[in-house]
Amino acid sequence: MHHANHYYGHSYALARYCGLAPGVVPPRIHGYLQHGWNIGDGLAPDHEYVPGIPSFVWSERTRRRAWSMGRRRVYVTGAPLAYLLTLTPPAGERDGTIWYPFHGWEGQHVQGDHDRLIAEITETEPGPVTVCLYWQEYRTAPVRRRYERAGFRVICHGYRGGWWKDLDPGFLDRQLAELLRHRRVASNRLCSAVFYGALAGCEPAVYGDPMQLRDERDLFGGRPRIRRQWAELHGKQVDPAVAHAIAVDELGADRLLSPAELRALFHWSSSSTVAAA
C-alpha cells in the first residue's frame, strides 16, 4: 500500500514470520508500517496521514502520541527487527563495536567533521571497529576511504529500497547478523540502529558530534528533547540492562503479535496473491 513498507526488507521479514513463501514479494500491507524510530506519530515526516488507513507503529508510546495528534486506527505491532530476532538463533562470539555515523537520506546532506568523529571513535572504542555507512556515503569514495584509512572495517547493509524498485529482502538480516557479532553498538545520534543493537544484546553508546543535516528542522522537540528524554542512552558508557529495557519498550518487543494476528491486521490471507503495491 505504501512504498515505505518495503524499506530495509521490513515487509519480507514480517512475511517470513507470518509463514508466507520466502523470497517472493510479500503481499500488500493494508496500512502504513513504521520504518524508523521517531519521536512523533511513527509516520515519516514526508508521509501524509490519510484518515481511515491504519498505521502499524512500533511502540505503545508512539501509539499514544499518534492518537493525541488525531490519528486513529493505530496498532502497535512492534518493529520488524524484533520479529526477525525471534527467528534468529542466539549470538555466538561477540567482538568490537559497530558504529553508525549519522546519515542523511536521499537528497539530504550531512554537514559535520568526519575526521573529528573518527578520532573520537578511535579514542573511545576498546576493540575493532566496524563502521556501517549509509549507501550514499558508502558510494562516496572520499568519505568511505577516510574511515578505511582510520583502520575501521567499513560496510554497508545495502540499499533500503526505492518506490517498489530495487527492493532488498536481505537488508534487515544483514543488519541483525552484524549486530549479533559485535559487543557494542554506537552512533552519534540516538537512532533505530542503536535500539536494534541494544535489543540484540549489544552495549549501546551515543556520543560524538551529532552532525547536522542541511536545513534540518527539529520536529516534535527534536534533538534537545531526545537528549533530555532518553538521557540514559547518551554517553560513551551506558547501562546495558537499562538500555535493553528501553529498547524493548521503544521497539515494542514485549508486544509482538502472533503470525495469525499480524496476518489479520495486514489483511494477509493465505489466498492473498496480490503483488506488492
Binding site: G40, R61, R63, R64, R65, W67, S68, M69, R225
Partner: protein, 468 residues
Amino acid sequence: MPHWSDRSPAGGDALTVLASAARGHTLIVGPHAFPLIDAVPSARVTVLTRGVPDAEALAARYASRPGFEVCCGSLEKLAAVPAYDTVLALDGLDRAGSTESDGLTWADSLGTLLAVLRPGGRLMLGCANPAGLHRLLALPAEPGDEEWGAPAFDDASRPVGAGALRSALAAAGLDVLGDYAAYPDPRSPRALVGSAALRDPDLRGFLAGVVRRAGAPDEPMLADPRPVAVQMLASDLAGELAPGWFVVAARGGSVPLPDVILAATPDVVRLTRTARGWCRSDLDSAAVPVGRNLMDALLVAARARDLPGMRALLTAWQGGEFAGVSADGIVVDADGRLHDLRLGAAGDPQVALGHFVDAAPADLAELIAAMTGVAPASAPAWPGAGAFREVAAERDRLARELGEAQARLDWYESRLATRDAELARAHRIITLLKGTVPGRAATAVRGALRTGKRAARTALHQFRRQQR
C-alpha cells in the same frame, strides 16, 4: 509534549473563589484558565502543564509577575520534595500525564501531589464523577485526541463517589475542610454546593434555584439536566450524582470558604453557615428565605393542570414586586408569601415569565399568557441545551399537531363534500321540477313578470325625464 495544548481548562467564577484561598508557595497542576491563576493571591506560584504551547503561553502572560514559574512535563517527573504550601489541581488528575509515560493512576497522582505538599499544606482538588449527571445525559461520543490512554473512569484507583473521595484523602492523613458538589460541568462549574448545605432540607428552595441557575452545559445533551438536578436534590442524590466534586483538604485547621458558591451576574453568590444559620456572605450576612422554589411550585401546579393553583401563584408573582425575577430565584414560604433569593439582577417580566413558559407543558402557554395578561418573550431567554430529549419531544408534539391539523382538514373536506352533494341534489330537483306542467307555468309567469317589470321601469324612466 511539543505538539499538545489542552482545551477547556478548569475555570469559571465559582472556582475562582476556591483559587483565592491558596496561600504560600502554590503549585498549580494541570490546565487552569488564566483568570483562575490570576485569582491565586500567593507571591510564589509554580504552574505545571504538559503541553509546550500552553507552557509558552503561560510564560509569556506572566513574564512580568515576580515569583512565577512554569514547568512543562508529566506529573511523575515532579521532584518529590515537600516544597509547596498549597497544591491546586482543580482540573483533576486526568490531564497531568503525557503520551511519553504509561500514565499514573489516580491514586499515584494523588500520592505525588501529597509528596510535594508541606506539612500543614493545603490541597484543592477537583474530581469528575464517573456516574455524574453530565455523563448520564451525555450523547454517545467518540474518544477525543486527549484520550490516548485507557479511559480515566476505568482506573480502579479512582474515587467512584463523593464518600470515596473523602476517604481517599482521609487515608492519606488529610482532613477534608470543604467538599463541594459541582454543577453543571466538572471542569468549569457554575455552582459549588457544600455537603452540609445539601443535607439541610430548609435550603431546598434556595438550592433548587442555584442548580437551575447553574444551568445546562454548553454542549448538546440527551435532555435538559436542570429538572433532573432539582429532583436529585429532593432525592438526596445531588451530591452523589453531581458532575464533579471539589475538595479542600489539609492536616487540621480550617479554611474560610463559603458553603455554596454560584457564579451569577453581577456578583458571585456566597452562602455560609453561621451560628445564626445560613447567611449570605455576599449580602451583609442576610438570612436565606426558606420555602418552596417558585419555579417548582408553578411546575407542579402546571403539570397537574391545577389552574386555580397556578393562577394564584402567577398572580402573586407577576402582580407583585418580583415580576422581573425569574421564578427559580424566588421561594414561596409557608404563608404563600414570595421572597427574592437574590441570585442575580432582576430583568424584564416578560423574559422572567418566558423562563417558566419554556419549562411548563407546551399546551399551557396561551393560558399562562391569558392568566397573567403578559405575552411571554417568545424566544427562550436561556438558550436551549440542544437537548435531544427535548428535540425529540418537540418533534413528537409537531407530529401530533400536524396529525391533528390533518384530521381537522379531513373533517372539513368531508363536511364540504357532504354539503356539495346536498347542493347538487337540490339543483337536480330544481331542474326536474322545471320540466313539469306547473313548473313550466311558473316559468312562464316568472317570464311575464320580468317583462312587465322591465316595461314599468322604462316607463318610469321616461316619465322622470319629462318632469325635468
